[in-house]
């Protein structure tokens, strides 16, 4: 089964197969609740449980949901990213072809950091203000665990 998926993916029609699979899973795995802000929505995928559980133990539990950190916060892009994430998540989840342990992609880290600044702009004003382009302060270098500790 897995083998055939891999083959399917490798052999030409990646998009076709992927989309098909994606679409199906998306519906099946309560894909629609994915568009809400409820962290439980993310945990629809057991594969998100690790972060979900950790988030409950984390310092942001009461102040930030998954989406507060993982989706951009001007309305339109938010749903684009969700669709994009949603697509990949569904696809990976279905095929099981994702890295294990899961690693945040560069783009996700950048989105998260924008969100750190969104809420903590005042706190980091002084340390962040002289950030010349390409020289921004990298929050996650020191605060990797704020969202969901114990990793």
């Amino acid at each position: 089964m897995k083998a055939s998926v891999i083959k399917g993916v490798l052999v030409g029609s990646t998009l076709g197969v992927a989309l098909g699979v994606g679409a199906f899973t998306f519906g099946y795995a309560k894909g629609w609740s994915y568009l809400t802000n409820n962290p439980a929505a993310c945990a629809n995928c057991h594969i998100m449980n690790e972060q979900y559980d950790a988030w409950h133990k984390g310092s942001h539990r009461s102040v930030a949901t998954c989406n507060d950190c993982h989706t951009p916060h001007s309305l339109i892009p938010k749903y684009l990213v969700k669709a994009e994430n949603g697509f990949w998540h569904s696809f990976y989840f279905t095929t099981g072809l994702h890295p294990d342990p899961i690693q945040a992609r560069e783009v996700s880290v950048r989105i998260a950091e924008k969100n750190c600044r969104r809420c903590h702009a005042e706190v980091v004003d002084q340390i962040d203000s002289r950030a010349v382009h390409g020289r921004e302060l990298d929050c996650i270098r020191c605060h990797r665990d704020v969202g969901h500790p114990n990793r």
Binding site: T94, G96, D100, P101, R151
Partner: protein, 439 residues
Amino acid sequence: LMNVMERKEEGRNPFFRVVELTDDTEDPSIWGKNFPLQYDDYLKTSDQSRTRFGGSEALPKTPSEADPRSIVAQSRLEEDERLKRMWAGYAFSTDFREDRGHAYMLDDQTYTERQQVSKQPGTCLHCHASVYVAYRKAGDGDLIKGFEAMNQKTFADARKEVTHPVACIDCHDSETLALRITRPGFLEGIRALKAHQGIADYDVNRDATRQEMRSYVCAQCHVEYYFKGTEKRLVYPWANGVKVEEILAYYDEVKHKDWVHAETGAPALKAQHPEFELWSQGIHARSGVACADCHMPYKRVGAHKISDHHVRSPLLNVQKACQTCHHWPEEELKGRAVAIQDRTFRMRNLAMDALMDLVDDLSAARAAGVSTNDPSLLMGQDYQRKAQFYLDFIEAENSMGFHAPQESVRILGESIDFSRKGQNAMRTLVTPKSVAAVP
């Protein structure tokens, strides 16, 4: 598409018990019926692939009467001739190979040339076969009695009593599947160590935490050891602690030597795979990271996380072995491990050169007719014993320093000091007259 439903299924289901397992079920294929995932991985320990310093190479070999193996791991003696000289007069100088997967442990022990050049006792099997059932049988139900009985036998006789390399029952309780220590050597060794640390009457199977057990099951075998007395009892030399100087102190106290060095007459010691001892001195142990965390990392199979029973070099499996804790790219993590190993390897070679120089001097002095009880010669020999044990402690350890980077280099540095001091002890300072004599 099945996939997602399977996953939801798996989410709920634990494994099915197909067969009953008892404390006498030795054959892993039977356990495999209940736990096919772990069994499949367990079988993979027959894979052979290399890393810079670990893994192993699969070298073809023409089977012979004495040694039917058609594939062996590379010879460490050929990789570094100096090893032969370090072990001159000892079985290891005839055959010493890179270690490989668990699947080979019984054959590699049975057919190593070391068996031909010297009579080995049944004790050997303690760490190369599934002996738990055999021990209890030999002791009419008493593990320790059986252990003692098997130790007394010749290797050949004892060998007949066992069939499998390390198997499920050697690490697991057949009912609960909880980890369990089955090896008398470790049961007694860890008790002695804890006693030294002020903890009386330590029973590992009663007192150890689960996380400790994830290392202790490995420490049943991946440790320094010696055979005590004529009864050839397997003993782990930890009564003073597990640091190299504490182990050497123990051997000096009990006046143990493994052999007399053929070239120099030094009462020499051979260190063997002190993985547990070295790891104990490292930052990972201090951080509570167990052998199994790196060598049997969790892997996701559907909703389950199972322990990868393909025990092997973590550098062949960096993603699961390291990236759970270290968010660095795979190549970077390999690079870090190799940087530590390269530094250790460099010092290991300097220590080896120093030792060879000392052996040169001792041989030359003997050749020149310096009497065997000459104080300077005796001093030189004692320094050789020390230098050699320290060097071998890292040489025989199998992570090339990774398990405790700073401690490894510390030990090699002290080995260098011993070798060079040994040379000095046998030399006299130049004088205006003696000058000519200097190279």
